[in-house]
Symmetry: C2
């Protein structure tokens, strides 16, 4: 059983203050936030307070926040909502997007609407020259993530948005992996839509949001009771939304502490990784502080993850958000990493709860496991 | 401030056992259920256990359960997933469906695909002769709810399914208001898809499910990481799913107690309502035990709900699931109730926590408020 958790880009523990804020909405009767009786009004007030908290954390106004049940839902909503009813044009998504951006784009492709990938370079940066070239064709939507979930590389979304706007295209950014790690400001980025998620920042599962430019023309993904100004129907998940709000406040408050603390752990880790001859992906890119994505030649990532788990360390192989596929990471392939090296990929993503001691123990365990696995391979060969 | 909660068809309090089962997944680090380390495997095991619990409660196999974040999402998924890519045909929804069934059907209408309403009679029963007539036109999907959320009237879905299947149409039923109130058996109903929701049965918000006939051809609504066998992407909301599972167990266990207890309260209430000359909607239909939907001539429902709230009773006006619209209930209009009487509609929906004493106090308060409001109207006239 692992006891050191190094997989914070996948999901995080609920912060104590978050759970405390949620419990009153779970431990006793609360109302449907649409109901007009006092139970409902209490729920409504809590949802609206959380909306302010989320808005504050992303530099937007409360009336720009549309609550969803997840980042995945917000991304599907953005792509399909902006591009539904298209009869021609194209949708551009970066080659390193999470599948909850790229797959909805593929799903709405037709004979006259094409979904195309924007290339990235070997450091995991979006190739702006390629974007420029693609934008010569009339484009409806450009979607590019602010921080890549696997490598942690930060993209120049301000520039992407500027280029897209020049060509009259809408711009969406998936900022799920950015919130809590770097400053996120909706207006400064210049996008029309932005996705954030609660459970990546110490909030609960069950809440996400799409932040919208009020002038955007977008269709709902979920139709029904008309909640969220008709843009997202479904009974508001009050406790989860309340938790998301508090988690946003904490993310802002802890932003520099998170950066300093996890950068220290990451640097410790990567000095050790270098001694073990790891290849670190996106090393030359501008990265968030908590993420390290690496590979060892001739060692399978899945095997290493399982071995490290037994040794007490929870890390991810490739993208932890995807299904049980054993395909190599599409992010690494887009960066031009050879397939066999990509299959070796292991991701460590730190949180405030991790310690230098854990990292040191991890490096010892990693060294042992590498030796053991290499010997095993040598014996079997 | 209301303290007697009579709005259980809108949302219910979390049961103590449900909250206790959820807390371990909230109070400490848990993994993403897709992750392969021990944190992830623990989460996965919990999700799969809950899947068995939900399946048991609805008479289906675990591999037929697709978890969603809500009943609204499951209904949108059913309608759009079954009907996407249609190039001709029709979608039939009963005139009393929740908007999260009827509105997605309207949203996918095109020049060659039509969404049509199946009429209901004055007792809130689906007009089977009208359905038969509509089915003469080639039909892709028939969606009809098992229990109406406003009147509590139970529909003959077995018959609806039989008629639809004869015409090679798929059948979906929204069973959100049925689960926990009457026995629900997927196979006995003969449908291809069925929606259930957690927060209507003492489970948390954030979990619902679409139960599927394995042979059905359905497209995802949410694309991404490929969770739920590729049918519904997004990180599993482990705590909510665990709570939903326990709530399903309890719903089955308490089914007859719920029926007996709430029927007694409802009968008490309706004897009193008759003395006050209320019109009770769906009174001659076969109803679930906990629901009473009624109106008083010349009294506005919203006004009465507000007055009763001040007197300490949380009840709903029209449909509590809809947005801030003040239109009269579409269910009552479909039943042929005159618009002014429909505007007076008030819904009481009981739960196991309610008592006869609360009902007696409610009847006293109601009588007082009716007198006060009538005097007020007389003075103003």
């Amino acid at each position: 059983m692992a006891n050191a958790y190094f997989d914070h880009n996948s999901t995080t523990a609920l912060k104590t203050d978050v759970l405390e804020a949620m419990l009153p909405f779970m431990a006793s009767q609360h109302g449907n936030a649409t109901s007009r009786h006092s139970f409902g009004r209490t729920a409504r007030a809590a949802v609206e307070h959380a909306r302010e908290q989320v808005a504050n954390a992303v530099g937007a106004y409360a009336n720009q926040i549309v609550f969803t049940a997840s980042g995945t839902e917000a991304n599907n909503f953005a792509v399909r909502g902006i591009c539904s009813n298209l009869d021609k044009g194209q949708i551009l998504t970066s080659a390193i997007e999470h599948p909850c951006v790229s797959r909805p784009a593929l799903a709405i492709q037709s004979s006259s609407v094409q979904a195309k990938n924007i290339h990235v370079d070997s450091d995991c940066n979006i190739n702006l020259a390629h974007l420029q070239k693609l934008l010569l064709t009339p484009t409806n939507l450009v979607s590019a993530m602010l921080v890549n979930n696997e490598t942690g590389v930060i993209q120049d979304i301000t520039k992407v948005a500027e280029m897209a706007r020049e060509r009259k295209a809408y711009v969406h950014t998936d900022a799920v992996q950015a919130l809590g790690k770097i400053p996120v400001n909706f207006f400064a980025l210049g996008v029309h839509a932005m996705t954030v998620s609660s459970h990546k920042i110490g909030g609960p599962l069950g809440a996400g949001a799409l932040v919208l430019d009020k002038r955007i023309d977008i269709q709902p993904l979920l139709y029904g009771g008309g909640q969220e100004r008709g843009l997202r129907s479904g009974t508001e998940n009050v406790a989860a939304i309340v938790g998301f709000g508090v988690a946003c406040d904490l993310a802002t408050k802890n932003l520099s502490a998170f950066d300093v603390h996890t950068a220290n752990l990451r640097d410790h880790l990567e000095i050790g990784l270098a001694k073990l001859n790891a290849v670190i992906f996106g090393y030359n890119g501008l990265r968030v502080a908590n993420t390290s994505f690496f590979s060892f030649k001739y060692i399978e990532g899945e095997t290493l993850v399982t071995a490290l788990d037994k040794a007490g360390f929870a890390v991810a192989s490739g993208s932890a958000c995807s299904s049980d596929s054993t395909d190599p990471s599409h992010v690494l392939l887009a960066m031009g990493v050879p397939e066999d090296l990509a299959r070796g990929a292991v991701r460590v993503s730190f949180g405030l709860s991790n310690t230098v001691q854990e990292v040191e123990h991890f490096l010892l365990a990693l060294k042992q496991e590498l030796t053991r696995l290499r010997n095993l391979t040598a014996v079997m060969a």
